[in-house]
Symmetry: none
Subunit: 187 residues, 4 copies
């Protein structure tokens, strides 16, 4: 059943984040997932395939969260704010996913193809930034640059709120964070 496959992926996410990729034996994953070692390799031929599959799974999952309630927003600013706030919520609600990307986005275990496929999940957000640039609502500079800067700034905000969790409940602080974001990218 798909049940076991899901359990393996879920357990892997937890363990890879807690212990690192090479410090997590497949035998431990199998054990904590409640399956036999052979079963793990029945679903994922190699450990590398496992983490690459996981990478895309988590990326999909993340994008659902980041784009939640996005189509209801009318202006570019409203959309960007929705993405910003969604990002913070995601980081708080799915801490393992967020840590997973922190650790593995730049790791050599994720191959080039997987990384590219993961990038495509951002198309929707990319399009919004592109439109914003063309209409001068956002800075009229390279979309790629704006995208990377926006992402970097969001990562910085997430880091801050993770280190100062009490402020995540404070509306004013959240607004301030968004303001730096908006000031950075607005046209």
């Amino acid at each position: 059943m798909k049940d076991k496959k899901e359990k393996i992926l879920k357990t892997s996410l937890k363990l890879f984040v807690e212990r690192g990729f090479h410090n997590t034996p497949t035998s431990l994953i199998a054990k904590e997932a409640g399956v036999a070692t052979g079963t793990l390799f029945h679903y994922f031929n190699t450990k590398e395939l496992l983490i690459n599959t996981l990478y895309l799974e988590v990326k999909d999952n993340m994008m659902v969260d980041l784009t939640s309630n996005l189509d209801n927003q009318e202006t570019i600013k409203a959309k960007m704010k929705q993405i910003f706030m969604n990002s913070l919520s995601w980081a708080f609600n799915k801490p393992e996913q967020q840590l997973f990307f922190m650790q593995y986005s730049h790791s050599p275990f994720i191959d080039q193809l997987t990384r590219q496929q993961g990038m495509q999940r951002f198309n929707k957000i990319f399009d919004i930034i592109e439109e914003g640039g063309k209409t001068d609502v956002l800075k009229n500079i390279s979309t790629e640059m704006l995208f990377e800067i926006a992402q970097g700034l969001i990562n910085g905000s997430i880091k801050y709120f993770k280190e100062n969790k009490e402020y995540f409940e404070n509306k004013e602080t959240l607004e301030n964070a968004f303001l730096t974001f908006w000031d950075a990218i607005k046209g």
Copy 2:
């Protein structure tokens, strides 16, 4: 002599970045550093101590670059610009160091104490941001938040320029990047 120790650290940096921590045998480090395996463990009792020592060494090295020519700048804006540009230069001149932080800043191999000690290296920059906040030259919000956002934004810029190296020579693009940075943090 310190010679061998330095060689081991230098070789480790290169290999950890190229192959990842667990995928780099200590035997290979020793071999490429031109020393015996025993010598590596003579200087670093464990492989983990090696990477933690390296982390601090690289952080020290990086801070020299980031704060270069900083005291000559008079205004807060000039100082922040210097830091921003220094960061990009560092990322281009010392790519191994930059990749090292990308991969290991969030890894479980670096222990809490080392991470804290590494943070202290940022004090000088932290102080500038604090002063800027107090004098309303920068946004008058939590120094920590401003610091993390600034850092995140710089990381985003670095990522962009690394993926589009041709633009690193383009003054206008660099100015645009700095502008997003300055708009984000200015008061």
Copy 3:
């Protein structure tokens, strides 16, 4: 199957006696046992667990020999003689077991718990000595003391006969040895 486990234990006994614990690589044990090194650690998590398990196994084995034909003996004296003679036979028939105890009974590799568990194997003999003390057939002194003295004396006899093997076939010499034993403990 239990087959491999048994082979590993049997080979360990031989090699530990021949070469000493630390001078016997696990790789050699595995090789001579005809299994992979991984298999050895599949059954015994550590080398220390291996020797501790072996210690109890050999002790069990030894007790079967020492108490052989014991229940057929009616008097305390007959029982003690049976034990004495069984001990000598065991030392001659199972030289590896005897050498194993000579070398490892006092070694730091055998942990306290194992030693205690090993001691319990002697209960049957202990009971006979206790009964003998109470009924004045044996010296009416502490059972523990009588037990240790008996054991020490047997070890001395074994040592003598091992160094003078020709006398082990000589009935009179055997009787003389038993006589010292009996004189020492009799009431």
Copy 4:
């Protein structure tokens, strides 16, 4: 100076008993003895030479204790009693020496020649037993057998008193122990 050599031997005795031969690095011996590793190898070319030297040193030391006050005794019985009691005192006053022999008498680290040389230290005691046998004060059986049995019995007694230290102060118990010894060997 001989000072360092003595310190190395003394430290070795302690560490070999506490940790076992192979589990005691020469570097640790040097460290605890307060000398450099090179110094250790200046005095003892190999680790094996070190333990063999130690073996004879300890044996000498032990014989002084065992034969203390021996010449004042007139009868064979008095002499044997003196040896018996001296043995117990030695075991209590020099526990490291006693544990050393328990562990290393049968170990493969001590070579044949050293063992033989060690045996010669017993000549004086051997002679007493021989004389006792000839004069029928002791059992008129092979001196070697009597010697080994006596030694085994003493070892048993030591073991008992080590496990029941409170009785070592008890005169009656000591007398009982000697009585088993004397009954075993007397003619």
